[in-house]
């Protein structure tokens, strides 16, 4: 009686998730894998190519540019973590006033549409017209304007930094929550044992938020690598292919060249690369959870 009731509950409760997952995610994804083995024009007949798209992409002149740009772009996750940690730790301190207000302000950049954030940074950073260049020069920090998006070395880092500015509050939200759950008494206890500021961070704070950090790093790695808004508005993938991260290439193949076979091929590289970057953190997370 109880067994069958439980079985029904399991089936009933898993149904929405399963249905959703199969129809909206796995079916189109598997179809995409199939498409990557074809020349698949937007409005036309597919032609079987086998692995040609893959070998073409591996052999393309811009392949390594794209990989390098994607790796640098993935560091956005690290920058986001740094800012989110500083902000969350500061807002955990008992002596900071107006916390509710500061917390609200922190998430503004995440609340604005990312396309628009890109456009605003383009405006602020414009070498001739933007206020950032203006003040850097006015304060004598630089002598000549920096051409953030036209210089190869800068462009990759700029799309990474602007993406970091846009998305860090997601990490902040979760890390702060984890911090707030630490009872004040633990800090007091540590203090009684003579722990200094750094020791208290290592002994009390870090273990309590380690899980939260792993969760946000994994989530943001997955999200960040798929984001196209910033590179698209800031550089369009250029100069040359310097800022053509995989997601941008994917977008361009699919929506500008109408070549869905190639787009999904790039997509598969993106999936593999994202998985490879996430794997160490997922492993740490599993170990952590297993231990608890």
């Amino acid at each position: 009686m109880k067994r069958s009731e439980e079985r029904w509950l399991i089936i009933l409760f898993l149904a929405p998730t399963t249905l959703f997952m199969l129809l909206l995610l796995w079916a189109p994804f598997l179809q995409g894998m199939w498409m990557s083995l074809h020349r698949w024009p937007f409005m036309g007949e597919p032609v079987w190519l086998g692995l040609r798209n893959y070998t073409d992409f591996l052999g393309a002149a811009y392949f390594w540019d794209a990989i390098e740009a994607t790796l640098i772009y993935s560091l956005s996750t690290l920058f986001q973590l740094a800012v989110a940690l500083v902000a969350a730790l500061a807002l955990r301190q008992p002596f900071v006033r107006f916390k509710a207000l500061w917390r609200g302000i922190m998430i503004i950049s995440y609340a604005m549409p990312p396309v628009v954030v890109g456009a605003i940074w383009l405006f602020l950073l414009d070498p001739g017209l933007g206020m950032i260049t203006h003040y850097l020069m006015a304060f004598g920090i630089i002598e000549q304007p920096i051409y953030w998006f036209a210089e190869n070395t800068w462009a990759k880092w700029m799309i990474t930094l602007v993406a970091s500015w846009t998305f860090w509050p997601f990490m902040f939200l979760i890390i702060l929550s984890a911090l707030q759950a630490i009872p004040q008494s633990r800090y007091e206890l540590a203090e009684i044992y003579g722990a200094n500021l750094w020791q208290r961070f290592v002994v009390v704070t870090l273990p309590a938020i380690r899980n939260a950090i792993l969760v946000v790093v994994i989530l943001r790695l997955a999200f960040n690598l798929a984001k196209i808004e910033q590179p698209f508005t800031l550089t369009g993938g250029g100069p040359g292919y310097e800022t053509s991260v995989l997601s941008i290439l994917m977008y361009r193949f699919a929506f500008m060249s109408g070549d869905f076979g190639m787009a999904f091929t790039v997509g598969m590289f993106l999936v593999v690369m994202t998985a490879a970057l996430i794997l160490p953190f997922a492993w740490l997370f599993q170990r952590q959870v297993g231990r608890a």
Binding site: I10, V86, A111, V116, L124, M131, L219, V289
Partner: protein, 274 residues
Amino acid sequence: MTDDRSSPGQKALGHGGLALVLALVLIPYVYVIVTAFKPAEEIYDATWLPQRISFDAWIEVFEVNRFHLYLWNSLVAGAGSAALAILIAVPGAYIFARKEFRFREPFFYMIVGTLIFPFILLIVPITITWIRIGLFDTFIGLWLAFQIFAVPYSMWILRGYFAGLPKNLEEAAMVYGCTQFQAFYRVMLPLAKPVIVSVLFLAFLQGWSDFLFSNMLTTGDGPRTASVAIYASTAGGERVDWQVLMVMTLLTGVPPVVLYMLAQKHLAKTFAAT
């Protein structure tokens, strides 16, 4: 806060860190605010105070662009998407957290693994399917599409929380005569309130600021959201009308901030260490 015994060093660090991050967030934002009040001819003057305060852009945003309608659409799109995420993810996550069945772990990884799918490519098949089955240009269509990024991570967060609740709660409830379903509904669900509010909030934010899906799945007289309207009316053509863009951006940034201030205390309970 009365018995604050923090050392001066800790205070300096705390305030310094806060100031640094606030500067990082606020300086661009204040400039957005200033620009929103600048007359057109002063847009590129790198001044903090306009010579003449102009409300032209504000008037245009409401009178000509009727931006409030789009903000409302965003609200509906975000809220519905959040609610749907809960409906889809909570029952599933509960089962994955607290019931034993065959292939549970691989099955779960098949769901969370979809986090890394190249979802921008899914947009074409989804658009065409939505048009065929009548979901195009409807809120329901948007809500469903947003689940592509809302459900996988919601499942993960929810499952973690359910798994962390005390063991044998359901059994105890059933001893008192609850059915399996009642145990979930009466005992587990109230306990899960913080995590549900958190997931609602995170899913809302994604629906609120999404551009790609909202743009593809709506037309002008349908549920077009604010982020699409901003782009189409200010930046999507020959030139960018900066003042108007800034006003719209400001207006779009505020509602989630207010919601966050409301949801904050629940978030704090969700991500406590396991």
